[in-house]
Amino acid sequence: MIVRPARILIVNRGEIAIRVARAVRELGHIAVGLWTDNEPGAAHLAYCDEWVHLEGHGHAETYLNISRLIELARRHDITAVHPGYGFLAENDGFAEALDREGLVFVGPNARAIRMMGDKAVSKRVARQAGVPTIPGSLGAVADLAEALAIAGEIAYPVLLKAVAGGGGRGMRICRDAREVEANFEAVQREARAAFGNGDLLVEKYIVNPRHVEVQILADKAGNVRHLFERECSIQRRHQKIIEEAPSPFIGDNEPLRLDICATAVKLARAVGYDSAGTVEFVMGEDRSYYFLEMNTRIQVEHPITEEITGIDLVACMIQAALGQPVDAPPQEAITHRGHAIECRICAEDPVTLAPTPGTVTGLATAFPQGTRFDHCLYEGLEVTPDFDPMVGKLVTRGMSRAVAVRKMHAALDGLAITGLVTNIPLHKQILADGAFIAGKYSTDFIEARRPQDGIQTQADLETIYRQLASIEAANMGL
């Protein structure tokens, strides 16, 4: 089949814009990249065929500016727009606006984005499709009696939490009816004080929760495939930093794997999904799982799925958007083989976990075979507070989890970035942690085990000497 080259505008920056541009070019299309006034030498332009100036500084003026983006797309004769992740990737208004202009949005249809973008709607759709959601009251409970009734129904432990709450405030774990009785009024008072709203929910409390998500790949011909699952339980500030595929918690339990994947496909079908997307679940100690949300875009951690399945998700996503057959076999021929791990490399203090802007003064890599490094680093890169502190994703794959872990150790040792405080020392601590090595961890891993406490923070004279030697040698013109 001869495919006419499409002009594809990438409305993003950093490593994901590079990843998309690589797929666009490989497919024979033309990658059109954007640059803004606060990042005129953006790294992703190096992978784009054409460079378009998107005037302005803040995100509202640039990567979130729908009318301006559509005007640029028109002016530069664009066929399709890839949003990457973040920014406008899950904005149904953007998808619709492009559609009205006759431009292709590289993502799912606007209706699917809208349905999955609203927490309440997505939960309702999931329940209707027979996808398990966290048991509990459908909204606020009327009083203590109703709370006790529901708690008894869904079984203890339960979470008593403020409807208006968030970020861990206004909630209490109750292990039995006595604790619900004891806490009900206190939580009500807290909620009223903190949020001005005393309404409470009752919800099943998931002990040692795991974050397990299923990759979906669908197309416009109605094929909905899953590409197995990922586990993303290593998080800090509720953000993932290490992901694995397959899930070590599911392990060899192939029936459970196929069950959760089939459940995800069921939801994707129910919303008429037609692109790459991810269905996120929380999984309890007892391996029961509940729908959390669906991400209607390509995700940061997509590479580990590519590594275990061999399928190029970004290329397939573009093919799907253009209405072409995707380069993936039918479901029954899709296999997962071996294991892949991703460590997110962030400009962030490995001990305090606070962002650390700075300028990259040097970069050197020496990786084992089977390493992939998707990144936007280069000598001279300024990591500013304007953008995501994630500067790269280090991915290793091996025939077993042990091999992938071994390769990740070597890959982290082989990644030297100077001039920037990064979380590489934290990754090394996590990779060396017994619970991580055993694959036995839940989402509270970092809070509970505090791997950051093991990081050496004393001024290390040997490292200082080596760096000064490098500076001296450069001054000598060596």
């Binding site: 962002p355 970069l363 001279g380 001039g419 405080v421 000064l468 060596l478």
Partner: protein, 171 residues
Amino acid sequence: MRYYLMPIEGSEVVVDLAKTTVQTGGLVEFVFASPDGDPKGRQSTIYLRKIAGGYFTSMDGVRWTRIPRLTRSSKIVVGNQTYDLYRGYKPSGVGGAHEGDLVTQMPGMVAKIHVTPGQIVKKGDVLLILDAMKMENQIISSREGIIREIFVREGESLAKGRIIMELEALE
């Protein structure tokens, strides 16, 4: 040649480059020492060679480690510490924050100030919220003390290394 490494917080590090010897075959020997306690006793030799366009250093001439070529040398990072680097002179007015001064770790915008001058704070109290890197960052008191002076306003954008407030420790 003396180097002064000035951190944003914590103590400065002084390093002396005592000797540089260029050997045949592109091998360079640097002898470093530090009044802050040298890892090898009095002084250490760092061997450096350029291989395939990259720099490699060794402490013993046997085991070699790659070190990126540092193209801009005004700052160096060791572990989670960033040092401003001064070659040959100790700057005045830099790293001059006093014992009790609270200094910004990153550029950002002051979202909210939770304390007032004269207020007594405990270790762990939130002093200020700084919007940076698309996130709210709580600046937390590292000890018990009295807020003596506040140098910033809400809504103000701060550079990294800016003194935010003075906190006097309590016995």
